[in-house]
């Protein structure tokens, strides 16, 4: 034998999936949402998303450099590509950055997503020990942080972007690229309108995203497309989105409200498909995921209908994230049961 044979433990095959692939699946699923965001929130959404991603990745790299003992800063680029300690290429910071950008209003000052992503990565993720160890969804953590710190910026909603007037005056001069106050007409979200004035936004506008709201949450169609892609790839399972949306629909119907309006308004779709299904902070057992979705739905409906806030998706998911270890403990008992058996004729 010219080459010695490798001896290792079974199994000898793997399906080739990596953490990186899972994270990139979320990124691909977010592409339609990003396109819808640019269409309805205007070209400034590109700036917000890009700044948010850059801030998230830079924060992660800097924190991991500080954590690495004896790190040599000079060949930074080389080290980012090869070091085991710096994991910004695994895509988790990228996804967090995108989700933070989805959770801010369209006309925020440019530093708000930067601060938000930095907080999400540092206080939301790295302080717990990095990827896989955080208790709360980092993007929602950042959203609640921003909402508490700068409530005025985080609740100043504008109507969908007027591409007609913007393109009409666009020319080769960079001075005309700037978005003027004419484009950003102040407006309220459908949920605020519902809560304060009792106005029902048309279903088609809600479904397509032609309303006020955060960058990523308005277009339910794009979120559903992304969610379908993630379900197809197996990145998420149906348990959390299905039970979450079903619970909200049933409860709002029981309380005499319009279930369709509540399903498609606000951040429910984005929350159900992109936020609650975050693998790190959701339960691992099937029944745990189902209870998680039900809990999210109940808390969302309670906040929306009886709380003082118009929207409760982010708080509901954060509360259920805190319950995740408990849910795992009570649903993940060792059961001596072979799942493979079924359809048997017992002799």
């Amino acid at each position: 034998m010219p080459n010695p044979l490798i001896v290792s433990g079974p199994p000898y095959i793997k399906n080739g999936e990596t953490n990186h692939c899972l994270m990139f699946d979320v990124y691909i699923a977010a592409v339609p949402v990003m396109l819808a965001a640019v269409f309805f929130a205007g070209p400034y959404a590109i700036v917000v998303i890009a700044l948010s991603i850059l801030s998230a990745m830079a924060t992660e790299a800097i924190i991991q450099m500080i954590k690495t003992p004896g790190y040599r800063f000079r060949p930074v680029v080389y080290n980012i590509l090869t070091s085991d300690r710096i994991t910004i290429l695994d895509g988790s910071a990228l996804v967090t950055g995108i989700l933070v950008a989805f959770n801010v209003p369209p006309q925020v000052p440019f530093w708000l997503p930067v601060v938000g992503s930095a907080v999400a990565i540092s206080l939301g993720k790295q302080i717990f020990g990095g990827l896989g160890h955080n208790i709360f969804n980092p993007a929602l953590f950042a959203r609640t942080f921003l909402l508490a710190a700068w409530p005025a910026h985080m609740t100043s909603w504008v109507a969908p972007f007027d591409w007609g007037s913007y393109l009409g005056r666009l020319s080769w001069f960079p001075s005309t690229w700037k978005i003027q106050a004419v484009d950003a007409v102040s407006s309220a979200t459908p949920l605020t309108l519902m809560k304060n004035e009792g106005v029902l936004t048309p279903y088609l506008n809600l479904f397509l995203g032609n309303t006020g709201g955060c960058i990523g949450e308005t277009c339910a169609l794009a979120v559903l497309l992304g969610g379908a892609y993630m379900l197809y790839k197996g990145t998420i399972t149906w348990h959390i989105p299905f039970t979450y949306l079903t619970t909200v629909a049933i409860l709002t119907g029981l309380f005499g409200k319009d279930p369709v309006f509540h399903l498609f308004s606000g951040g429910l779709m984005l929350g159900a498909f992109f936020m609650a299904t975050d693998v790190v902070t959701s339960p691992v057992t099937k029944w745990g995921r189902i209870w998680f979705g039900v809990g999210c739905g109940v808390i969302t409906v309670l906040i929306r209908l009886f709380g003082s806030f118009p929207e409760g998706v982010s708080y509901s998911i954060l509360i259920m994230n805190a319950c995740t270890p408990l849910i795992d403990r009570y649903t993940g008992g060792a059961r001596l049961r072979l799942q493979v058996v079924g359809n048997l004729r017992t002799p």
Binding site: G9, P11, S282, G332, A334, R345, P347
Partner: protein
């Protein structure tokens, strides 16, 4: 940056069947190896008796030794005609060195000798034929029901489907003979629900035989899960004690039939040879004792390029350090792998072990509903009591958790290590 660009391929959650075509055609015969290595023991401490000396001429089917002691002594036969080269310890595919007889062929091909006619049909005949059944359990009324696993859990093996497709009548005949010999009244054969053709073949071969019941299962059953399967299937709701089941390897049933009808010893069996080092997977009928090297050569594999040789399946098999190990009666197949970038230095950053992101893929796939990620975490922190409480010993070593893990954590290896730790230091665990 291998593994960096995202793919749109939907990753499989169960291993794809790589041996698909192997059972649709008759097995190729490879009955004339140059030399065979016949183990006389299963474990190095087992008692055995050797009846031949070096440089002695033996004929195929001649009894050359006995395995075990007491009333259940199993005969070991020469599987080719030739001259005994040596009687020495030799590596066996179970990963141990055992006493073995090496026979070199002299170029003569003759039909194997038959079992002497004075042996009556009974357990004694099966022992004389060298069929390694669980005799203490089968005889003496310790078994109420015989179970045969006709599903193939390993993606690279196709022996059970082959036997059902091509030799169903011999399998059924062997099972009926076994029930007659040990006076067992019932038996059942499990067939994968996704392979209805095999069920039809089995039902056709059964004919009017009412004692054997074909059962469909949702998914293939790993050999280690057979005890759980029996417990699950045979549990009684009204509190009476469940019937005692014994599993029989389907590959032995044609040999039982041949021993009783034609008085032939168990010297050849069907194995599946597959893997990236083999041009196409195929079933081969080989003599027991044929070295893996000869089988792989015969199937078109290039030994110079192989990096790993595995006895058995890709999920639970045993990796071999040497290509000179023999095919034993229990060997279901050979996996010959040519893999690139196996060492850590050759791997891209993306394929190295990462943190567990709790994606729950291992939990969803686990056939016994335990939480492999949680238990592996406990085992790594040496919290064996907690790991045991969470069901460490329910693990049946199927390997699916490692197969699907995107963080590339060797979950199955960690769990197996923790389980063997209990055997080595029973006082440390659970204190």
């Amino acid at each position: 940056m291998d593994g960096f660009l995202p793919t749109f391929i939907r990753r499989k959650q169960t291993p794809p069947r790589s041996s698909g075509a192997a059972y649709d055609q008759p097995a190729q015969s490879f009955l004339d190896p140059g030399a065979v290595i016949i183990p006389l023991q299963e474990n190095p401490r087992d008692p055995y008796q050797c009846l031949v000396k070096p440089r002695e001429e033996v004929a195929a089917g001649q009894k050359i030794g006995e395995r075990g002691e007491g009333s259940f002594r199993l005969a070991v036969h020469a599987t080719i005609s030739g001259k005994v080269k040596e009687v020495e310890t030799h590596p066996a595919p179970q990963g141990v060195h055992v006493a073995s007889v090496v026979i070199e062929s002299q170029g003569k091909e003759e039909p194997p000798l038959k079992i002497p006619a004075e042996t009556e049909v009974g357990p004694d005949l099966l022992l004389q034929a060298g069929i390694p059944l669980n005799y203490p359990r089968l005889s003496g009324g310790n078994t109420d029901i015989l179970m045969v696993n006709g599903t193939e859990f390993e993606p690279n093996l196709a022996v059970h489907p082959y036997l059902l497709r091509q030799e169903a009548s011999r399998v059924v005949g062997g099972l009926a003979t076994l029930m007659d010999i040990f006076s067992i009244s019932r038996s059942c054969v499990y067939v994968d629900r996704s392979q209805p053709g095999l069920l039809w073949a089995l039902e056709e071969a059964l004919g009017k035989e009412k004692r054997i019941v074909p059962c469909r299962v949702r998914q293939a059953i790993p050999p280690a899960g057979e005890a759980e399967l029996a417990r699950e299937v045979l549990k009684r709701r009204n509190g009476s004690s469940p019937p005692r089941a014994t599993f029989v390897d389907m590959a032995f049933l044609p040999a039982v039939r041949a021993a009783v009808e034609e008085r032939l010893p168990f010297i050849e069996r069907v194995i599946t040879v597959s893997g990236s080092g083999i041009p196409r997977p195929l079933n081969v009928k080989v003599r027991v004792g044929t070295p893996f090297e000869a089988v792989i050569r015969r199937c078109g594999g290039d030994l110079e390029r192989l990096t790993q040789i595995v006895m058995g399946g890709a999920l639970t098999g045993i990796s071999q350090p040497d290509a000179q190990v023999p095919v034993t009666q229990q060997t279901p197949g050979i996996l010959a792998l040519v893999s690139f970038a196996m060492g850590k230095g050759h791997q891209s950053k993306m394929y190295q072990e990462g943190p567990c992101i709790r994606c729950a893929k291992c939990v969803d796939r686990c056939p016994v509903s335990i939480l492999p990620n949680l238990i592996a975490g406990y085992c790594r922190k040496k919290m064996f009591a907690e790991a045991e409480e969470k069901g460490l010993f329910l693990c049946i070593d199927c390997g699916l958790c490692t197969y699907v893990c995107p963080a590339r954590i060797p979950l199955a290896e960690i769990l197996r290590e923790a389980k063997s730790r209990k055997e080595r230091h029973p006082e440390e665990v659970g204190s």
